[in-house]
Amino acid sequence: MDPRTTLLDCLRETIHLTGTKKGCDHGQCGACTVHINGRRVNSCLTFAAMHQADEITTIEGLGEPGRLHPMQAAFVEHDGYQCGYYTSGQIMSAVALLKEPCGPSDMDVKEYLGGNICRCGAYPNIVAAVQAVRRHSLL
C-alpha cells in the first residue's frame, strides 16, 4: 500500500467498508471517527501503515440491521439524524463516550460530542439518544 494512504481511505477504498465517511479530511468534522483498540480517533489524520497490529472497529462492526447496537437503535428511535451522512461518526463517538469520564448532564454530552459536526442540526435528538442509552445501561 502507498504509505500516503490514510486509515480512512484504506477502510473506504481498499477494504470497501464505506460506512465510515469522509467529510473534511482534516480533523474538523468527526465523520471519519472509528475506534482503534477501543479508543475513538479521526481516521483521516493517521496513516494506515501505522496500524498494522491494531484492532480497528468501524460502524459496520457495531451492528447490522436485525441486530443493532443499542446506540444505533437509540439513534433510530430518537430520530438522531436527518441526511445521515455524519451519523456513523456520531454513533462511533457516542459509543466511545459510554466508557469515558463524561459527566451526567446534557451539557456534558454536548461537550463530549463536540468533535462531531452535524450540518442538519439534529443535535437535540442525538443528545436524547445518547442519554437514553446511558440511562438504560445504568439500570
Binding site: P3, G27, G30, R39, R40, N42, L45, F47, G114, G115
Partner: protein
C-alpha cells in the same frame, strides 16, 4: 501529498540514527510522526513535504512519572486525553488538565501527544494555503496576513515578517507551570526551559523553536507545585467547544494573609509564542488582590499590544480574560494544592 518513505522504529537510538541520516538537505525533509493530527493535516495541504516519515509511536515515551523533587515527568508520547484525565495531574496541575480539555475534540485528544502539541503549527490561513505568500512557509516570500485576514492572529511579539499565533492551549499552561522540555539528539540529551523553547518570529518566522534537525523531544517535566497555590486555565473563543482561543490565560497563584505571595501568568491566542506575562506578575506580587490591581496587571502586559487591521478587539478581550482568571483564582475557583 508528496510521496515519502515510511519507517517504524522501536528504539530511541534507531529514531535518532534515521533522523540524522536523512536530516541535512533542507529542513522538514524528515519528520517524526506521533499523533499525526498536525503533520498529516499539513502534508495533505502540501505545507509539510517530508521525504521520510518516522513513526515513533512504539517508543517507550508514554509514561507519567513523579520525580524525586516532587514534580512530574510527562513522556512525549502521552496522549493529550490521558494527560488531561490523569488523577495526579488533575489534582496538582489543574491548569494543565483544563487547558488540554479545552483543546480540539475527544477524538483528536486521543491521538495528539505532548511532543506533537508542543510543536503544532500556526492556524494562520495563509500558512495553510500554498496559493498565498507566507514567510513562515517560504522564507522571504512576504506575509499575506499583514493587512489581510488577521482576526485570529497575534497582538504580542509579532514582527514585520510574521504575525501568526502559537495556537496551543497546552503550551500556555506549561508556560505558567514553568515546564522544562527534554530533548535527545545525536550529541546527547539537553533540557530547555519552556520560556526559552519558542522563538518569536523576528526576521526568521520559519524557525519556531530551539529544536535542532533530527532532535527528538522525549518528555516535559513540571516542578513541584508551589504549596498552597491554585491554578486554572480560562479560554475565550468563538464557540463553546472545538475551537482555538481568541484569548486565554493560565494562572498559578498563592495568596496568604491578604497578599499575593506567588504568581505565574501566561497568555494564549494573543502571542506569537505562548506568552509569559512577567510584567503582570511583577505588578501583582506582594499586593492585596483587588479589581484595580488586576486591571493594572493586565495593562502592564497589554501596553505592548500592536493590533492588526482585524484584531483590535483582542486587546480588551485579553484584559478581561486576565482579570477574570485572576478574580476566579483568588476567589478559590481554581483547585488548591497542598493546603
Amino acid at each position: 501529498m508528496r510521496a515519502f518513505t515510511f519507517k517504524q522504529v522501536a528504539r530511541q537510538e534507531e529514531a535518532l540514527l534515521l533522523s540524522d541520516a536523512h536530516a541535512g538537505a533542507s529542513p522538514g525533509e524528515v519528520r517524526f510522526i506521533a499523533g499525526g493530527t498536525t503533520l498529516v493535516d499539513l502534508m495533505k495541504l502540501n505545507v509539510e513535504r517530508p521525504s521520510v516519515v518516522i513513526d515513533i509511536n512504539r517508543l517507550p515515551l508514554d509514561k507519567i512519572e513523579t520525580t524525586p523533587d516532587g514534580g512530574v515527568r510527562i513522556g512525549a508520547l502521552v496522549r493529550n486525553g490521558d494527560c488531561a484525565h490523569h488523577p495526579l495531574l488533575q489534582s496538582r496541575y489543574p491548569a494543565l488538565s483544563q487547558a488540554l480539555l479545552s483543546g480540539a475534540s475527544a477524538q483528536l485528544r486521543n491521538m495528539a501527544t505532548t511532543g506533537g502539541n508542543l510543536l503544532q503549527r500556526t492556524r494562520c490561513t495563509y500558512f495553510r494555503d500554498t496559493v498565498w505568500t507566507c514567510n513562515k512557509r517560504v522564507p522571504g516570500s512576504g506575509c499575506s496576513a499583514i493587512g489581510g485576514a488577521n482576526r485570529m492572529l497575534a497582538i504580542l511579539g509579532a514582527s514585520e515578517h510574521c504575525i501568526a499565533t502559537n495556537p496551543s492551549d497546552m503550551n500556555v499552561a506549561l508556560t505558567a507551570l514553568e515546564a522544562t522540555v527534554h530533548l535527545q539528539g545525536k550529541e546527547g540529551e539537553r533540557s530547555v526551559a519552556i520560556d526559552e523553547f519558542f522563538h518569536r518570529p523576528g526576521t526568521t518566522p520559519h524557525i519556531e523553536n530551539v529544536l535542532r534537525p533530527g532532535e527528538l523531544i522525549t518528555a516535559v517535566s513540571l516542578p513541584a507545585p508551589a504549596p498552597g497555590s491554585r491554578s486554572l486555565y480560562l479560554k475565550l473563543r468563538d464557540r463553546a467547544t472545538y475551537e482555538f482561543a481568541l484569548a486565554s490565560a493560565a494562572v498559578v497563584l498563592t495568596a496568604a494573609s491578604g497578599r499575593i505571595t506567588h504568581v505565574r501568568l501566561a497568555l494564549g491566542g494573543v502571542g506569537t509564542v505562548p506568552w509569559r506575562a512577567h510584567e503582570a506578575e511583577a505588578a501583582l506580587l506582594g499586593k492585596g488582590p483587588s479589581p484595580e490591581i488586576f486591571r493594572r496587571a493586565a495593562e502592564a502586559v497589554l501596553q505592548h499590544a500592536r493590533p492588526q487591521s482585524e484584531n483590535g478587539f483582542k486587546v480588551e478581550l485579553a484584559r478581561r480574560c486576565i482579570t477574570h482568571a485572576l478574580t476566579t483564582a483568588v476567589a478559590g475557583g481554581g483547585e488548591q494544592y497542598g493546603s
